[in-house]
Amino acid sequence: MTQISSSGPAALGPAVPSAPDPDAVGSGGLWHSAWRRLRRNPSAIAGAAIVALFLLVAVFAPLIAPGQPGVPLPNSGVTPSSVPGPSPGHPLGLDSPGTDLLTQLVYGARQSLLIGVVSTALGLAGGAVLGVLAGGLGGWVDTVVMRVVDILLSIPSLLLAVSVAAVLGQRPVSVMIAIAVAQVPIFARLLRGSMLAQRGSDYVLAVHSLGVRRRTVVMSHLLPNSLGPVIVQATLTLATAIIEVAALSYLGLGDSNPSTAEWGRMLVNAQSRLSTDPHLALWPGFCIAVTALGFTLFGEALREALDPKGRK
């Protein structure tokens, strides 16, 4: 849904000879210089912190949450016009179905992580296959694959996800696949571009002239060099996935199992109580936005750090 892929960092200042950058490639390789740059970048640190927090909460959910997800409490005290606030044992109070709000949020993080990671991985895998085929083999394979990618891209990703989810039914798997399908064209384009750019480069010609087989060239040389941008895009895709899961839930296409806690569905449930207890919507919304922001910050910072032209 959101297009979190902007243009890269811009150059500053006219062409004046500058002192050589001790972080430039050559003093430890691309990854080392990237790490050094990341360490100093405040938004990278902020993003990494948010991501780390998210991961911790998601992984250690059972230890943090006061209760079980999706289990309404008997005698919850929920009425059509009010919802119990914070109390001992329930730091954030309850939500409209009568479950503990904090538990729902914490387990929601776990769900988001699960879906996010799986769908990104699937999208990456699918896109990689297509992209490598298209870029590596070229010719008519390339043309056909790119036409398919163009078609997929002509549909806004949310609607694409919706159509796939509609076909597959209301299971958690379908959400993952749906989001993955929407991401496939992006990864395909990325990898194809990377393949094409490298195919014409000198080192590939050199390796070829030494008689190395095509497949080896692709697997051992081209792929590792494409790793950087792919990781960046994967991070950004994760952010998009988290938002899209929520959007799909909002549209009613998400997981319908009430015992699964999911931020998007919490937003839907909160809709009817918007005027009386807005915090029911604010909490999950806040979680979605901040988590996505964290991944985006980190992804963008990573992109800048990996840029071999790296000038600040």
């Binding site: 959101t2 902007s6 243009s7 806004p156 609607l159 938002i243 959007a247 937003l267 922001l293 985006t296």
Partner: protein, 334 residues
């Protein structure tokens, strides 16, 4: 120039053709009987037989496909399984509302985004710049419907300054000519109706336009930064030209080209955003139509919608490409 246009139109054809094939495959992939899927709640043995006849679902697959394409070309996108209304007609009825909303959002995004992006680039590294970069990142990651909620809560409960629902105050008796309420008011000289419609567009426009705003700020900023470092700007300064002139003619003019292309890409975002925002603000556009269709699993509408959207998206991108060809002399004269 003409060949440029024709070439681009020609590229459209295989994409649309592929889309139709994909849609057909999708329709057949839906769970259950296609006729039943299309009819949904209105399925009776009689109506099923009717649909099978009309769509040729009892015919071999290739024949089905041909029939399908034939229907599409005639503009027959089927009828809604919930209401029985022809899909195309419903779209056309509701289209103006969404277009008005999208235009309002785009206007908001561009009018605010370009100056902010420019200011950020000019003072790169400064406090304003960091603020804008951070803010734009937030704007991109915030879910549209959440923002819509927020605005609705704030303005309906605490700051009742702007309307949060509908396109027009029902107490104003407005005459509708085109379906574009703001325009209608102007055409019929009912100024109050026009103004009222405009006011109703503010909040939904802001909700829908926030993500495009964030994107435009970022792209403008990046583009201006890049142009500022280019040699021709140095030449302009070496000529002794005043700052304002250098900014207008030698920085902005060059920097805005990529921004224009982005606007075309925003269309997809605007549509999917509209699906999520219109229902929050009770606007009767195609967005809320699709929203209902999804919740009711109205496949006929879904299919028609996808085709409609893809076509619109492709056309808008074509227009933007052409526009680019007009404003960039390097493209125009090659």
């Amino acid at each position: 120039m003409l060949s440029f246009v024709l070439r681009r139109l020609l590229l459209l054809v295989p994409v649309l053709a592929g889309l139709v094939v994909l849609l057909f495959a999708w329709l057949r992939a839906l769970p259950g009987d296609p006729a039943r899927a299309l009819l949904g709640q209105r399925a009776t043995p009689a109506s099923i037989a009717q649909v099978n006849e009309a769509y040729g679902f009892d015919q071999p697959l290739p024949v089905q496909f041909v029939t399908y394409v034939g229907r599409l070309l005639r503009g027959d996108l089927g009828s809604s399984s919930a209401t029985g209304q022809p899909v195309l007609q419903s779209f056309l009825d509701r289209f103006p509302a969404t277009v008005e909303l999208a235009l309002a959002a785009l206007l908001f995004a561009v009018a605010l985004g370009v100056p902010l992006g420019y200011a950020a680039a000019r003072r790169a590294g400064g406090a304003l710049d960091s603020l804008l970069v951070g803010g734009s990142l937030l704007g991109v990651t915030i879910p549209v419907f959440f923002l819509a909620y927020l605005l609705k809560i704030v303005f309906s409960q605490w700051l009742p300054l702007l309307p949060t629902s509908g396109r027009q105050d029902p107490r104003i008796d407005a005459t509708h000519v085109t379906g574009f309420f703001v325009l209608d008011g102007l055409l019929t000289r009912e100024w109050d109706a026009s103004l009222d419609a405009l006011v109703h567009l503010v909040l939904p426009g802001i909700a829908l336009g926030t993500i495009p705003l964030a994107i435009i700020v970022r792209i403008t900023r990046a583009s201006v930064l890049e142009v500022l470092g280019e040699d021709h700007v140095r030449t302009a300064r070496a000529k002794g030209l005043p700052r304002g002139l250098v900014s207008r003619r030698h920085v902005l003019r060059n920097a805005l080209l990529p921004v224009v292309t982005t606007i075309g890409l925003q269309t997809g975002l605007l549509f999917s955003g509209a699906v999520l925002t219109e229902s929050v603000f009770a606007i009767n556009g195609i967005g809320s139509y699709l929203f209902q269709a999804i919740s009711q699993l109205d496949y006929a509408v879904l299919q028609g919608f996808i085709l409609f959207i893809a076509l619109t998206y492709a056309l808008v991108n074509l227009v933007v490409d052409l526009l680019y060809g007009v404003i960039d002399p390097r493209v125009r004269l090659s």
